[in-house]
Subunit: 364 residues, 2 copies
DNA sequence: TTGTACGCGTTATCAG
DNA sequence: CTGATAACGCGTACAA
């Protein structure tokens, strides 16, 4: 254990040491570009070029500079760089939440993908709230991000005005409706939900209900509802208000929603949920109601996060290409920052993954 | 739907508009401090003071400046500010992963707490790997963060040297062993695990096994093992190698670990897990083995994330004060950045929350 | 209380 | 291929 802290010193001593360093040594605390330049006996311009366009510098000179950089332990000063180049090598992402895993995977991929390109990801959360999202976007813009990743396409026009006025490139993820004038990297939520609903119907379910996320300013949630509704209507069925309940993205609120649903005069045989968290919550609620899944009621999820196979029964759900969306979004945005036009965006296919929570309706 | 995109324009047109803006209008794209100064007929110094030390400016002057700021839509340039003040109002956090919810809640709180103080949180992930952690710390330092939040205390000395050489304040969270020379905000992992093990023993379990996280450079994991071992030894029991399996932080690897454990010649009656994700995985593995929880085997978790009550049976686990750790860490670090000495750090208590996965050993 | 003037560390534009 | 030098936007002594 002791070895871990071989370099340990009380904090006050560290401060002291640092202040020594600041004034003693070879002249100052953090080496700057011109320190490196002196050390390598070249101009600051050359050092800068070594860092940013290495191939425009003669091999030998570059070697000398690199040696100096290494010896001095030089790191470029972020502020200076941002000021002079008017770029931060930072892109921002505003996601609804980190509390569940829905966006976590995608963000992780995004971060990896961007860090390869030597750019940093700044993550902010909106808690599924438009106003908070706007203020986070403002904050990110204020920090001079070079680009932005946002979730979904439906937000007040003034937010898009803010974005456009600033002239930062941005891409919208987790959505691709075909109607959006901005570059999207995602999938068609409506179509995916439609497919799931048809699958449910193909298993003879006729009494189907839905637990949806809040649909205000949330195109993913509302399009999923639309998809389900369309499938039902094609079968001559409806999704009446009492069969569609909006719930928060927590286990408990979905659990309560499920309890309400099965208390209805004619109990649904299947509950389609807007996402896996809600489906897991529904499972919980149904258990509390003494109902078995899928024997008494079937449940489906959406997103295919790890939770989907952690619960019992494991969720039949819609698989979403988290990883591929992440890399595609990173790639597109990076190109846009480089000046490329966004083009058409990218659509991915989703697919239904069958596990245990959905079964053919029992014919008792 | 159409209303959403009232401000929609094709991307190429946006670029065009922006370039108009750049050259037309009142002289330039983004207003600067001196634009504001001109507009308010004061000096740049006064504008700067209005922003940073408002009470040193006469009421009336300030009003004029604020009006100008509003009218021009001025936002301070991040780079310029960082360069001149040598502060970024940014703190960095390196956490093991965002893939599960273990750290998500704490980070979210941290972010909220810091954004109140008008400082931005920069999140990076290490994937439970020391080298990656070091490189992330480097990257964060390179971006001039004013402070750092790190998880756990056990890391190679050179990392602490790097930190100290840079002179950035940092605080360690999720840990508080009492032995660490750096400021910690957390709880005693060893003690918490010890308490859980004693609880298990009090329910007559004598054949207990453990699924632990990887303990290399992970003080949380290794201290939890120590705690369990200590409790067992006090009862004259041991935790032999075959009863202690290290698994990754995924459902599947913990599931396999559990399957192995119950295949042992004498089957454990209780499996203590290093965290909730692993406990959920264990549940899965036991189900595959055809064993009932808790009737055949009891399982306990650690951390009390939402997953703990999403699974069936709900996990008996150790509750950790995610939120309070987040605010305390934010507060302490903020004070340290302001120049305060770190003091003693902060310890929180944990407590066992009893749910369904742990039962008295059945006396068949 | 306010203004002047300089410096922060880098990049970029020119000549050479 | 390299070097001088002028921005870049802001904070802050210092002077008024």
């Amino acid at each position: 254990m002791d070895v871990l802290f071989r370099s340990a010193r009380p904090y006050s001593m560290i401060c002291f040491i640092n202040s020594i360093r600041r004034f003693g040594m070879h002249g100052g605390l953090k080496p700057t570009l011109s320190d490196v330049a002196k050390h390598a006996r070249v101009s600051t311009a050359t050092v800068s070029r070594c860092l940013n366009m290495p191939d425009q510098v003669r091999e030998e000179t570059r070697a000398r500079v690199e040696a100096a950089v290494a010896e001095l332990g030089y790191t470029p000063h972020f502020g200076g760089r941002a000021l002079a180049s008017n770029r931060t090598n930072t892109i921002g992402a505003v996601i609804p939440t980190m509390d569940n895993a829905i966006f976590a995977r995608g963000v992780q991929v995004l971060e990896e993908e961007l860090s390869v390109r030597d750019i940093t990801l700044l993550i902010a959360t909106s808690d599924y709230d438009v106003d908070r999202e706007k203020s986070k976007i403002r904050a990110l813009l204020g920090r001079g991000v070079d680009g932005l990743i946002l979730v979904g396409e439906s937000r007040p026009p003034e937010v898009y005005d803010l974005l456009n006025a600033n002239g930062v490139p941005f891409v919208l993820v987790w959505t691709y409706s075909g109607r959006c004038p901005y570059p999207c990297v995602g999938f068609d939520n409506r179509r995916a939900a439609y497919a799931m609903a048809r699958h449910v119907l193909s298993l003879e379910h006729r009494e189907v209900a839905m637990i949806s996320g809040l649909t205000v300013w949330n195109d993913r949630a509302s399009q999923r509802v639309q998809g389900v509704r369309k499938a039902l209507e094609e079968h001559g069925l409806a999704l009446p208000p009492e069969r569609l309940v909006q719930a928060g993205y927590t286990l408990e609120s979905a659990a309560e929603a499920a309890e309400d649903l099965v208390d209805l005069p004619t109990r649904p045989t299947a509950i389609i949920c807007g996402n896996d968290v809600q489906a897991a919550g529904a499972l919980k609620g149904l258990r509390r109601s003494g109902l078995r899944v899928p024997e008494d009621v079937s449940v489906t999820g959406f997103d295919d996060i790890e939770l989907a196979h952690a619960v019992t029964p494991a969720l039949t759900t819609v698989h979403v290409p988290h990883r591929r969306m992440g890399v595609a979004a990173a790639d597109l945005l990076h190109r846009m920052i480089g000046g490329a036009l966004p083009g058409e965006g990218i659509v991915f296919e989703t697919k239904i993954v069958e596990r245990e929570s959905l079964a053919r309706v029992s014919d008792e």
